[in-house]
């Protein structure tokens, strides 16, 4: 099936099988391997991408569902100049990254939150990343990082 959509600000035009998952389109066809597969059942959040402003598990979504949508993956976050997104800076500064496998999904969930709620409180952060499992950090530094990135949103 043919579909067109916007990914990380660029137009994508591609033919995919009807039963292909969005995750496989992103990773295998488009080569954007920053999005990870951790469970294939929507239980770990490692494959989180943003579709029309909402954080979704790309392992549970058919690729064809992306048709006409605006999609963001972790690769679309930092600028071409290499400048990191405030969330990425905050994750590094707070030590919210250990193995880094959950990090792209975690950051995408956090970004979807900050885009609609620039200065979230702790409860709102918890809610937003409750579907993203991290086994390394114990989460406290992740919550701090998202808070920090939110505090930077002065004009939010």
């Amino acid at each position: 099936m043919h579909l067109e959509f916007i990914c990380n600000g660029k137009k994508v035009s591609v033919d995919v099988p009807a039963d292909m998952r969005a995750l496989d389109l992103i990773r295998d066809v488009m080569g954007l391997t920053g999005t990870k597969e951790g469970c294939a059942r929507g239980e770990c959040g490692a494959c989180t991408i943003i579709v029309n402003g909402k954080a979704v598990n790309s392992c549970l979504m058919y690729a064809v569902k992306l048709k006409g949508k605006e999609v963001f993956t972790i690769e679309g976050l930092s600028e071409e100049s290499g400048k990191l997104h405030p969330l990425q800076e905050a994750f590094l500064e707070e030590g919210a990254v250990q193995c880094g496998f959950c990090t792209p999904g975690m950051i995408m969930s956090a970004k979807a939150l900050l885009d609609r709620n620039p200065r979230p409180n702790e409860e709102e952060i918890e809610e937003a990343i409750s579907g993203n499992i991290c086994r390394c950090t114990g989460y406290a530094k992740i919550v701090k990082a998202v808070t920090r990135a939110g505090l930077g949103n002065n004009h939010g």
């Binding site: 990773r27 080569g31 954007l32 391997t33 920053g34 999005t35 990870k36 597969e37 951790g38 469970c39 294939a40 059942r41 239980e43 770990c44 490692a46 993956t73 972790i74 690769e75 976050l77 930092s78 990191l84 990425q88 994750f91 590094l92 500064e93 707070e94 030590g95 990254v97 250990q98 193995c99 880094g100 496998f101 959950c102 990090t103 792209p104 950051i107 952060i125 918890e126 990343i129 409750s130 579907g131 993203n132 499992i133 991290c134 086994r135 390394c136 950090t137 114990g138 989460y139 406290a140 530094k141 992740i142 919550v143």
Partner: protein, 763 residues
């Protein structure tokens, strides 16, 4: 070394590989792609015990995308994996099935889907055997032998002093039996490898793994080629916690054999269910514990019997047995100790290394005993621990005496201060909430010790531009060891951390450094980096002294400059010194070797000098429990550890916070459920890995009691928090409810049930 003026140590340093991780650019093994790459998928037994009668691969081979099916007889080498003697695990089973996750065949195909389809299409007939699922069954006289030598994997004793005499001196005895459940590592990245034939008679395996040299050995053996033909490169590894060793050897060997036979790259990437059922777990345990004490609280004797359920294969069971023996009596000065520990085979997923390595299980038992003893003595639980705590000059359970870096009392002091300054809000206790505060003390041996030789190789190379390239034979699986190594080299060479690059481990270019285990990276690995950097520094010092026309002792290095000690303004950029050193023919690269002192140890009594250091810790946890639901909230958790010296404060906190939550999961939430030898919750919906909503407010307090055997005085901190947090939690629950739970996990259902039955929680 102790007098070195430290400029970057102990500070907060960003992960040196962090940018790659937050941008998604870091390549994990499953992210790799090579031309012509195929995918492997294993056919698993699906039954816990039986004899294979038939393996017919014809239907699988009819699937157009299927390129090959590997069976046991297709493995050129001995078809064996396993970290330790007795090396009892087949790579592919051909005869007996010992657990449900056992691989029987590997199907290799053009797509993952076709490989999986092929695996399911293989006709397998297994004559089922009655599975042996409990250690007691396995140990019964006349029980079916799971392995030819019987059902005992490893059984040893620790004998210190005279146990009978000790109990005669005791005025009071407490005794209880404790149980702990299996625990899954649940690293976010399932295991993955990619084997690439190189066209020069060699094969390169990119792997998500913990011990690349183990892999190289297993792969070479199963390929039946010299180890020098195999190159293992560690890919970015998405967590391991002890788990990516046996299983990485398994899939690494399978992928390598297939790729060499086909002349094409082969990737094997596990699904989550395979990762849970088909790789090792933390040993379940049953611990019978008896403590004898005087009325003043002095512990005089300890008798402990430990049974570990090791599942189908030995994996690391012998070393976990040993570590359990050595740590079972806790961080206390006890003259008479007898510990017996036996690891037993059962027809379940095999058990091996998992962060803590036997210590969380025995610490839960020993710290429960301490509280039970305190309550019998009507003594404050922290006071009882203080009274018996190991001090410098005391003999540990193995009789080893450390004169330095025994900071246990200091960690107790820190907790004591915090206890005084934060009263548990008991007065807020109401119709709904019960409050409780729990303490625990623990110790964790650092280094391989008498488990084997403990060596690490590190290379340091300074380029003409003054930048530093570092190679160490130990892996960073997320814990941040690359950053620590960079800091050590930066400190020695007087460069800023951003000028240091640390390679991933490549078995071609570093010395075999053994496995990355036992909280030894910072301690032993850091020492190797220190030595190599110090050697290269000699060349720089010599060069700078020529350039300054001053004595070598007059030169110091800081912030990428060489300068004169008496006049800081006289300075030369390091890049100029390095370039001049190169053109003068001074060596700018060094391979150094750090070797922990040989252990002087009796393996029959477990007496002697075993580890180069211990990490000591004291934890305090305040909780409240909802009487109506059993729900637990952790209000405060303070983890105080003696880690010798802090190198990266952010990294230390990360280890303590993350390790504590794994301990909390172990103590409260996580349980492998099984039915008839089959795991029924091999996914994250049913196996409860803590989420952000379950996190605990861990606060880290660092005690720095300088350790002479570690780089800049440091001791590892990777494993210790697991045992500390789990045990403090169990004691907090007992304090809140008045009920001593002897089984981990203590789930909210357990708490609710105990309260309801006895009505103890009601006002």
């Amino acid at each position: 070394m102790g007098n070195v003026k430290l400029s970057s140590m102990g500070k907060r340093v960003r992960k040196i590989d962090g940018v790659e991780l937050v941008t998604g650019r870091a390549k994990f093994a499953g992210d790799m792609k090579f031309p012509g790459m195929l995918y492997g998928y294993a056919r698993r037994a699906g039954v816990p015990a039986g004899i294979i009668k038939k393996r017919d691969v014809r239907t699988a081979l009819k699937i157009p995308e299927v390129a090959m099916v590997l069976l046991a007889e297709d493995i050129p080498g001995p078809n064996i994996i396993g970290i330790l003697p007795p090396f009892d695990q087949p790579l592919l089973a051909a005869e007996e099935i010992r657990y449900e996750g056992e691989s029987i065949a590997l199907v290799v195909a053009k797509t993952k889907t076709a490989a999986k389809e092929g695996a399911l299409a293989i006709e397998v007939e297994i004559d089922p055997l009655e599975p042996i699922l409990e250690p007691d069954e396995a140990l019964k006289k006349g029980a079916r032998k799971i392995h030819p030598a019987g059902n005992i994997t490893y059984s040893k004793k620790l004998i210190k002093g005279d146990i009978d005499k000790g109990f005669k001196e005791a005025e009071l005895v407490v005794e209880n039996t404790y149980h702990t459940s299996f625990q899954e590592h649940a690293y976010l990245e399932p295991e993955a490898v990619c084997a690439v034939p190189c066209g020069d008679g060699r094969v390169t395996v990119y792997a998500s793994c913990q011990s690349p040299f183990h892999l190289r050995g297993h792969i070479a053996a199963n390929l039946s080629v010299p180890a020098s033909r195999v190159r293992v490169v560690q890919a970015y590894t998405g967590g391991s916690f002890g788990g990516k060793d046996d299983v990485a050897a398994e899939i690494g060997s399978l992928a390598a054999v297939a790729s060499v036979k086909l002349g094409l790259p082969v990737m094997i990437a596990h699904e989550r269910e395979e990762s849970i059922k088909g790789s090792n777990l933390r040993h379940a345990s049953r611990i019978h514990y008896k403590t004898g004490a005087r009325r003043d609280g002095t512990i005089v004797a300890c008798k402990i019997e430990i049974i570990l359920d090791g599942g189908a294969y030995s994996s690391e069971s012998p070393f976990v047995t040993m570590k359990s023996l050595i740590h079972a009596a806790g961080p206390y000065r006890i003259p008479n100790i007898l510990v017996e520990c036996t690891s037993v085979y059962t027809n379940k997923t095999y058990c091996g290394a998992f962060r803590g390595f036997g210590v969380p299980q025995v610490t839960f038992a020993s710290e429960s005993q301490m509280d039970e003893l305190a309550s019998r003595l009507k003594m404050d639980p922290l006071k009882l621990r203080r009274k018996n705590a190991l001090k410098p000059g005391d003999a540990t359970a193995t009789g080893q005496v450390f004169e330095r870096s025994v900071g246990l009392l200091q960690t107790i002091d820190k907790i004591e201060e915090r206890r005084k300054s934060s009263d548990l809000p008991r007065d807020r206790e109401d119709d709904r909430w019960l409050y409780g505060r729990g303490f625990s003390c623990m110790l964790q041996g650092i280094s391989n010790g008498a488990e084997g030789i403990d060596v690490v190789g590190a290379s340091v190379q300074v380029s003409q531009d003054g930048s530093v390239l570092l190679g160490v034979g130990l892996t960073d699986m997320g814990q941040g060891s690359r950053t620590v190594f960079a800091q050590v080299a930066a400190e020695v060479l007087g460069v800023t951390v951003d000028r240091v690059t640390v390679r991933q481990v490549d078995t071609d270019s570093v010395h075999d450094s053994g496995p990355t285990v036992a909280s030894r990276s910072t301690t032993v690995g850091g020492m190797a980096v220190f030595k190599a950097a110090a050697e290269v520094k000699k060349s720089l010092q010599k060069m700078a002294s020529l350039m300054f026309k001053a004595g070598e002792e007059q030169v110091s290095f800081k912030n990428n400059f060489a300068s004169l000690k008496q006049d800081d303004s006289a300075r030369i950029p390091l890049r100029e010194v390095a370039a001049a050193a190169y053109w003068s023919g001074f060596p700018l690269m060094n391979l150094a070797f750090s070797r922990a002192p040989d252990a002087d140890f009796d393996h029959e009594t477990h007496q002697g000098d075993i580890y180069i250091a211990y990490n000591f810790g004291t934890h305090m946890m305040d909780i409240r429990i909802d009487r109506f639901t059993g729900r637990v909230q952790v209000l405060q958790h303070i983890a105080s550890h003696d880690l010798g010296r802090v190198i990266n404060l952010t990294g230390v906190e990360g280890q303590v916070e993350g390790g504590s939550l794994i301990g909390f999961g172990f103590a409260h939430m996580e349980k492998i459920e099984s039915e008839g030898g089959s795991i029924t919750n091999a996914n994250f919906a049913d196996y409860a890995v803590p989420t952000v909503k379950d996190r605990i407010p861990t606060e880290t307090i660092c005690v720095e009691d300088y350790n002479p055997t570690g780089a800049f005085g440091a001791k590892g901190i990777g494993e210790p928090p697991v045992a500390g947090a789990a045990s403090a939690f169990a004691n907090a629950v007992a304090a809140a409810t008045g009920v001593r739970f002897t089984k981990l996990p203590i789930t909210k259902e357990d708490i609710l049930k105990a309260g309801g039955k006895h009505g103890r929680y009601s006002h």
